[in-house]
């Protein structure tokens, strides 16, 4: 129920920020060259910047609730339609990054917990604090320098090579190229995905490994683990069924809460790899002074984060019956 005030607060914040632009968005976009005063007034009227502030806010609120996020000052397309065409690229990248981080981070954390105090444990913890401190915009460029420029293994940027045309059916390149039956396109898509996935997945990977390790250490000290061992169950079964299942509860929360940071990281990753997603779009909107896009895109990302947090809350009560009421 706290969603309604949070939502109003989020829209109020995104509204306020745009109105802190010196002058108004039209004036800022026009720049110092200026245009005819009549044209300026007409544009202001068209975008509603000539109304009193409170009225603009009420109008904005009504529009947002109706799913109308305004029109790009540059392309004249609706912000929503631009977002829809670009968002699948971001989801695809974020999904791969989370998958990469989960598939590698959780097993590493489990092994570190089982071998507590060994060189492997120390090495992994050192690596994970380093990974969590990583400036990913530098990390991505170093990867390009080594693997794309140095070895020539992976492409430098984009989602798929220009040599292939893939029918944009779902917007998810992996799905589209699968159905296009074009093996070359699939290979190209995969090779374009590898580096961005690793770069965006690095910080989550480090966090998941650390989190899994400490959650496992906590669980491994519990009585029921000793009971399970005493019953003569195999080490593997105790680790996976008894320990890991319980240790995963806090880890799932961390995974859910990392989505916000991931979308922030996507801005940097997409900028480095010229990945045509939402983050790239937002940075471009800043360079073009396209304030409706900046405002709408930011708001949509915030709404996604609210949705994911809600989902995590619900998932948490499914996973952890103790907090169910």
């Amino acid at each position: 129920m706290l969603i309604v005030p949070t939502f109003i607060g989020v829209t109020l914040l995104s509204f306020t920020l745009i109105h802190l632009v010196p002058g108004d968005p039209i004036e800022a976009r026009v720049g110092e060259r200026g245009i005819a005063p009549e044209r300026l007034a007409a544009l202001r009227h068209e975008f509603g910047y000539d109304q009193p502030l409170w009225k603009q806010f009420v109008d904005y609120e009504v529009q947002v609730v109706h799913g109308d996020l305004g029109v790009s000052l540059v392309t004249r397309q609706t912000v929503w339609s631009e977002f829809l065409t670009l968002f699948p690229a971001t989801i695809e990248l974020a999904f791969c990054a989370i998958g990469f981080a989960v598939l590698i981070g959780i097993p590493l954390g489990v092994v570190a917990a089982l071998r507590r105090g060994t060189p492997f444990d120390y090495g992994l913890m050192g690596a994970s604090v380093t990974g969590a401190s990583m400036p990913i915009f530098w990390w991505g460029l170093m990867m390009i320098l080594v693997f794309s420029v140095g070895f020539g293994w992976t492409p430098v940027s984009g989602r798929v090579s220009d040599m292939y045309f893939v029918e944009p059916w779902s917007g998810f390149m992996l799905i589209d190229c699968w159905f296009s039956d074009d093996e070359g396109a699939c290979r190209s898509t995969l090779s374009h995905l590898i580096l961005p996935t690793i770069v965006l997945g690095t910080i989550p990977l480090a966090n998941f490994a650390r989190m899994t390790r400490s959650a496992m250490l906590e669980v491994l000290g519990e009585d029921y683990i000793r009971t399970a061992r005493a019953k003569g169950l195999s080490g593997m079964r105790v680790t996976v069924v008894h320990a890991l299942r319980n240790a995963l509860i806090p880890v799932v929360t961390v995974i859910g809460l990392s989505v916000g940071g991931l979308l922030g990281g996507a801005i940097l990753t997409e900028t480095i790899f010229a990945w045509p997603g939402v983050g790239h779009w937002i940075i471009e909107s800043i360079q073009r002074r396209d304030y409706p896009v900046l405002q709408g895109g930011t708001l949509l990302i915030a709404i996604i984060v609210i949705g994911v947090n809600l989902g995590v809350d619900m998932l948490y009560s499914v996973l952890n019956p103790r907090i169910r009421r």
Partner: protein, 292 residues
Amino acid sequence: MSATVAMPSRLTLFWRSFAENRGAVFGLGLMVVLIVVAALADVLALHTPIEQFRDNFLTPPVWAAEGDWHFPLGTDDVGRDMLSRLIYGARLSLMIGFSVVAVALIIGTTLGLTAAFAGGVVDVFIMRMVDVILVFPSLLLAIVVVAILGPGMFNAMLAVAVVTLPGYIRLSRASALVELNRDYVTATRAAGASTLRLMFDTVLPNCMAPLIVHATLGFSTAILDAAALGFLGLGAQPPTPEWGTMLAGALQYYQRAWWVLAFPGFAILMTVLAFNLFGDGLRDALDPKLKR
């Protein structure tokens, strides 16, 4: 000094428990190096950070074939000495980290204590605001704030301070709420202390431990986010030797000259790592409850 066996001082006890964590000691060492380098930048740097040597564009580091001892880590595209720029960059980064943390700590703690002491509508209002800020990915919000205020180092620092506020507000409010029920607070209140005195003189000192840890870790967030903004062209502007801005400047030719890319990023990584390791160690040493 007397010859009797005394209890070890609090500082000694703290150091013992801190020094158990080798990572933390390493972090502290790195921090000391950074602070010394930043303080002695004028002495250590061979050149000024913006001096352009027109005969030495993209000179590689000394150990490479065409290296030159005048430029130990090479030069960039307009012939500026990389090492000197990195050294002055350390000064900038520490300054950014310190200013951002100081602003966020002071404003955040004041707001958090106000929420805890005032309760009611004020509390709800402040905490709603925190929830709203937390919904935005911090880097995105910082980007938007800078995009609107205009690029520049000051605005970037302001933006990062704003997006890191929620942590300080929540922490100080939570610890203050715990302290408020303690007898010593009631006693001080009964003795007639003003609310301001209660807030900052009675309660705040007892809430400091988690805030200090959070502030130390906040240094790394601040430095990282400010560098990211610099990289996106929204932070410090060229020719300022800010590490993130240096990386942005290297984008056009880093494939020919790896050193213009490798060193500034490595400097960011090491700085952030130092504060993270130190902060983790500090948390373990200050809060024995967390240790296992």
